[in-house]
């Protein structure tokens, strides 16, 4: 496997940005200044980035309630995201969506989604657009192990096969839907489900960028070439609670610590690229520093940004009414 230096740098930067963005959110949330529900993606960065590394703005993704990582990986503006989470006028959604609804169609980002299983049907539609408009695009649905039990998701697997859509269904399996384990809630296997709906199945280690990158390349190439949809099952772990405020008593003590110690995608990436001589540690350090600055500025800017004007309340319900 050969990965261009530029791709490696960009991917590391994206993963680092997600990490820094979210760890900061964790801190800021605790101060009480961030309203609403916030679901952190920390620990799962390699999945979003390893998949999106193969995409351009011409390709479409749909995300979940745990959407920050997918947004950043797909190129949504970090400052705009932070402002959105603070509910400011300068947010990507002008403060009207918040964490669970960040979207940027100009980047092919069809939205985080507060509805579990909301994304897969939309992605059938985006894939249909790509196919019908013959623009060579693919459409990717990210969804969790929990969402894999939602009828919306299951129907979409079938529909995508029936219509032979250029779609990839990325199951981000972190073992939990809220406080319930996948070992309880998911009968059977994702692999058999893929077969049950007539599509190839692939799996990878979601804490290893290179594992995701390779599998995703194959899956996306397959879909893009017109052969139909693929399921990509990504095994990973989330580092924080389901949402900010969750004490995670359902997980054994030390589970997350162990993950952080031995399955940190950033550590792993750094070791791998430096030991193989692909990138220098200083290049990564520079990125770390730049990202820290970017996140810091995004918070300062968000807090200083104006609230939406009253007129925004009634605006943009319709294109025309």
């Amino acid at each position: 496997m050969q990965i261009a230096r530029e791709t490696l740098l960009q991917s590391y930067r994206a993963m680092r940005t997600i990490r820094a963005f979210e760890e900061r959110l964790h801190v800021e949330f605790a101060t009480g200044e961030i309203p609403g529900f916030v679901h952190l993606y920390c620990g799962e960065e390699a999945s979003a980035v390893g998949v999106c590394a193969h995409l351009t703005d011409n390709d479409t993704i749909a995300s979940t309630h745990r959407g920050h990582g997918h947004c950043i990986a797909k190129g949504v503006d970090v400052g705009g995201m932070m402002a959105e989470i603070y509910g400011r006028q300068t947010g990507v959604c002008r403060g009207k969506g918040g964490s669970m609804h960040i979207a940027d169609l100009s980047k092919g980002m069809l939205g985080a989604n507060g509805i579990v299983g909301g994304g897969p049907p939309l992605i059938c539609g985006a894939a249909l657009s790509h196919k019908t408009l013959k623009d060579n695009g693919v459409a990717i649905a990210f969804y969790g192990d929990g969402a894999s039990n939602e009828g919306f998701t299951l129907e979409s697997l079938n529909l995508a096969s029936v219509w032979k859509l250029p779609a990839v269904f990325v199951v981000e399996d972190n073992g939990y839907g809220e406080a319930t384990g996948a070992s309880y809630a998911c009968a059977g296997t994702q692999k058999d489900r893929a077969a049950g709906f007539g599509m190839p199945y692939m799996e990878c280690d979601g804490t290893d960028f290179f594992s995701v990158y390779e599998s995703a390349r194959e899956a996306i190439d397959y879909a893009r070439s017109g052969k139909g949809p693929v399921m990509l099952h990504v095994h990973l772990s989330r580092w924080y609670g389901h949402f900010e405020g969750d004490a995670m008593t359902y997980r054994v003590a030390g589970e997350v610590a162990e993950q952080k110690e031995h399955h940190d995608c950033l550590k792993h990436f750094r070791e791998r690229v430096t030991s193989a001589g692909l990138l220098e540690a200083t290049a990564l350090d520079d990125i770390d520093a730049a990202v820290a600055d970017e996140v810091e500025s995004s918070v300062i800017a968000a807090k200083a940004a104006p609230w939406p004007e009253d007129s925004a309340l009634m605006a943009d319900v319709y294109v025309k009414y």
Binding site: G118, P120, L159
Partner: protein
């Protein structure tokens, strides 16, 4: 101009828009019909009641897509396709089936634009049959437009005749917001003169099917015909009515209704949907708030009872509003006035 049935008017609207704009596509269960069948005939049905017949032949399988029985995924797909460059017309068959795909309408299509800060367009149309009178029983006879009207972000269209159906459907397809387009299943064979060429009827502009002096009747969809029939009879008895067809319940032409009530001072609302939180309530509330001073009598609603739609013919008749019931309601409203004045 030639006589066309409600069914033909809709078919023609779809055909003309598909010719005009290659981004318009059709999807739904058996909108063509026959895929995977042993005979190889791929346009076997053209919709369960033949409304989309022939469109596959003209536009091909890439633009007329049969779906599995998976409303959530294909209605969601319509939303996703609309947000990414197509203009899908998805057929839900019976509006009662919204129970299988409400999320895709309620939480996805209707809310994209607002949640995303104005940065999305979702030009999709969902066509579905509604209405009782077909002995189709409780799960295939509902008139669920109050649900859709309640949801900000949706537009809701209910044509009352073939002419209206064609113009409103073309408008719906060209509209950049999600539109629910409801077709009364009992009306498919009704005919009237419909222009052959393409035309649009704007949303949010009510149609006065007749003008009178005594009572304003607002009626929805198939009820417009009944209201006109009642008005005919009442005219012979010396009572003249204004009959308003709002055409779209969202957006809603409040002004026309308020102006007419200002003139007649009396209002009867006819709505075939279940009586609680329905359009009859909505219109009554509008007038009781904004034309109160003009009202000479209580606002009377002609609506079905708060029951599911029964199967048996005599019960279903009893259930439905009718010209007779509208006539009685108008007379009742006139009497109340008499009493007050006396």
């Amino acid at each position: 101009m030639s006589k066309k049935s409600f069914r033909q008017a809709i078919n023609e609207a779809l055909r003309q828009e598909m010719r005009r704009d290659p981004r318009v596509i059709l999807m739904g269960e058996d909108v063509a019909g026959g895929r995977g069948g042993t005979s190889g005939v791929k346009d076997a049905w053209g919709g369960v009641l033949g409304v989309t017949k022939g469109l596959l032949t003209e536009f091909g399988e890439d633009r007329v897509l049969d779906t599995p029985i998976s409303e959530a995924s294909y209605i969601g797909a319509a939303a996703g396709a609309a947000a990414t460059g197509l203009r899908p017309v998805a057929e839900l068959m019976f509006v009662d089936f919204i129970g299988s795909c409400l999320d895709q309408v309620l939480n996805q299509a209707a809310k994209f634009r607002y949640m995303f800060g104005g940065k999305a367009r979702t030009p999709m149309v969902i066509r579905a049959m509604y209405g009782a009178g077909f002995n189709a029983a409780a799960q295939h006879s509902q008139s669920l437009y109050p649900l859709f009207t309640h949801i900000p972000g949706l537009k809701v269209v209910i044509p009352s005749s073939p002419y209206e159906a064609k113009g409103l459907l073309i408008e719906a397809i060209r509209d950049d917001d999600p539109v629910i387009f409801l077709e009364n299943k009992v009306m498919y064979d009704e005919e009237e003169d419909v222009p052959d060429e393409s035309y649009t009827i704007p949303f949010g502009e009510a149609n006065l099917t007749r003008e009178g002096e005594d009572v304003t009747i607002v009626a929805i969809g198939r009820m417009v015909g009944m209201a006109n029939e009642a008005a005919d009879r009442l005219e012979k008895q010396g009572i003249t009515c204004t009959v308003i067809d709002p055409r779209t319940t969202s957006p809603f032409d409040e002004d026309t209704i308020l102006e007419c009530v200002e003139e007649t001072g009396r209002l009867v609302v006819v709505d075939e949907s279940s009586p609680r939180c329905n359009m009859a309530c909505d219109i009554s509330a509008l007038v009781a708030e904004r034309a109160f001073g003009a009202l000479k009598a209580p606002i009377v609603r002609v609506v079905p009872p708060h029951t599911p739609v029964p199967f048996s013919t005599p019960l279903e008749k009893l259930y439905m509003p009718s010209a007779e019931k509208i006539e009685a309601a108008v007379k009742n409203v006139m009497k109340q006035h008499a009493r007050e004045v006396a």
